[in-house]
Assembly symmetry: C2
Homo-oligomer: 350 residues x 2
DNA sequence: CTGAAAGCGCTTACAG
DNA sequence: CTGAAAGCGCTTACAG
């Protein structure tokens, strides 16, 4: 458009040159109200007008100032995403799913990784984002005042994972129960009789659902193990290691099912240390199908959840809410799938 | 502040209530110009005034509209971060380092994961961010027009990794040469004679530095291998697998050093398949010290780089540039460290 | 279908 | 050290 490289033109527009709606208006001969209307695809603008305005926008390379439109009541086209962290593959995948759709739909994403009440409420009030995607974990519940602020200002939001108990917000869920149920049936097939479930924290919804699904799966398969003990970890490798260590000090088990792969990794590490063979002495399985599970020795049997798709679905739903004013109440449940590898005792071709 | 739960008060302020600078001004009895000054810590405001204004801000719970301040020439307190992806641990760690400092310094971060020229230039012109953090990989070079736009508008930016050749922007670097040099010395200790280096893409700066460091390390140790072959991958597991497969079809090697851990994983996987023992038949080492490397069998010898710190350093530098108007030209080089595990042949206590 | 005008909530010369 | 006023670049009733 403007040749920056050829030095001598630059002088007067080094920092200031900004094409505004006024330039567009005067170039195409319509008012800026009209320009604004076509930019926002409002509808009732004569097609020929739309065309001329769009030509002007294009030829000027006009980019609306999002600050200005946000201030005057328009949209900022940015969505805040609140995640506990991005270091676990699970969250990184979510984020990449969200981002993929954001890019495609021309939204920006603002990332927040701390449940910092003040910062969040500031963000709500700052006019900076159009909506929120919230990952709710039992671990660090989303602040209540923050949710109140959101509702109060009428800013749409959605949960990845179950909303807080009293809240019926839109949400993207996965079939925790179904995945664990498949695992249980597989356990029944192996005829495991002394089973340890290494759960997440006591109040964690995902973990509770997985345990629940596991139990009904067992009973559906009419498999009645001698015992089904439950220990609690915090989803970390270290906690899986610790849990199985304590459990094994007191009891013996055929098999341990962990509420996620990181804890399963911890369990396998403990077994390696003690010379306990997996799966010959004890089977170990997980949940998530994290990157590394396939490369463990033995390769981990686990439940795959569509992490990327969860993020994508969340962003899609937000875009719909924002742009099509679709009914706010809405849940989507994404499927999970048992992935059988060798840590359960299958495939002796190790 | 306002009791949302007790329904009957809500009626009139359900969506609108916003505390503005005017409210603050009238509460404390100063003009909004003054309020603005204290908010922006401009300096020449009488201390007693500052105090009264701050009291008013606090008691009203006032949050400035970032849209308004951005529009009127102020700052948006948000930094754009451009990353190729977040799915690899390397980028996820960077991001978490960036985020940690952003939170602490009260900045927001806007995440961009595609090198989409138009979207980026729009962002530059949209007034939405104060600065950019750019991860430059040889793979997907940062668009030139985008950089031009940045400079033209005077928006500060910084690279993680080497800037493009002709560019002397601030950057956060790691000591690729030093890390690979340590690895080379270790190789000399093992007396490996037939060495394969699985590099990144041909024009990749990190990979080239690692190869360079490896070579000078070898010569410093006066170790002269019979051969040092180089194959190129793309940093993916699959490419490591592929590279070593081709290499092994034509030659034999004592040891292979991979430019990152994912390719080392691929190499180890190929060896597993072929029944080639690592490290007895061939040693395999990597670079990065990714999460999984410790849990591989054999545990991977690799070079650790401080990923989180890189992100943190980047954000810190941006904040300094923005707030203290520190000189723009600046580089920081962070150290790397050899982590010796067993895939190189050390620690036979497997 | 289109335009004139007010207003969104700040910041920043300018004047004192 | 402080204030009155203009202006940033949009959007949105309101009127036609």
């Amino acid at each position: 458009m403007i040749n920056i490289e050829s030095g001598y033109i630059m002088k007067q527009n080094t920092e200031e040159s900004r094409v505004t709606i006024d330039h567009v208006a005067s170039l195409c001969g319509f008012s800026k109200a009209t320009v604004s209307r076509v930019m926002n695809k409002e509808g009732n603008v004569k097609p020929s007008t739309v065309e001329r305005v769009e030509d002007a926008i294009r030829s000027l390379g006009y980019i609306p100032s999002s600050a200005a439109s946000a201030l005057s009541g328009g949209k900022s086209r940015t969505i805040a995403v609140l995640l506990p962290d991005v270091m676990t593959e699970y969250y990184a995948s979510l984020l990449s799913g969200v981002e993929a759709i954001a890019e495609e739909s021309n939204y920006n994403i603002l990332l927040k990784m701390r449940n910092n009440k003040k910062a969040l409420i500031d963000l709500v009030n700052s006019n900076k984002v159009d909506a929120f995607i919230l990952r709710n974990t039992g671990l660090q519940p989303v602040d209540h005042d923050f949710l109140v602020a959101l509702k109060r200002r009428g800013i749409p939001f959605l949960f990845i994972g179950k909303p807080p108990v009293d809240d019926d917000s839109p949400a993207i869920l996965i079939d925790n129960v179904g995945g664990a149920r498949q695992m249980a049936r597989h356990y029944a097939g192996h005829n495991f009789r002394k089973i340890l479930f290494i759960a997440g924290p006591k109040d964690n919804l995902d973990s509770n659902d997985r345990l629940y699904g596991f139990k009904i799966g067992l009973s559906e398969a009419e498999h009645n193990p001698e015992k089904l003990d439950v220990m609690h970890g915090d989803y970390s490798k270290a906690s899986g290691y610790q849990a199985i260590r304590e459990a094994l000090d007191a009891n013996t088990y055929d098999a341990v099912f962990c509420a996620n792969d990181h804890m399963a990794l911890g369990a396998i590490l403990l077994c390696r240390e003690r010379g306990i063979r997996v799966p010959e002495d004890v089977a170990v399985t997980g949940f998530d199908d994290t990157f590394f599970s396939e490369f463990l020795l033995p390769p981990l049997t686990t439940v795959q959840q569509p992490m990327h798709e969860i993020g994508a679905a969340a962003m899609e739903m937000i875009v719909q809410i924002l742009e099509r004013h679709v009914p706010r109440e809405h849940k989507i449940i994404l499927p999970t799938r048992l992935v059988i590898r060798q840590s359960c005792g299958c495939g002796h071709d190790l």
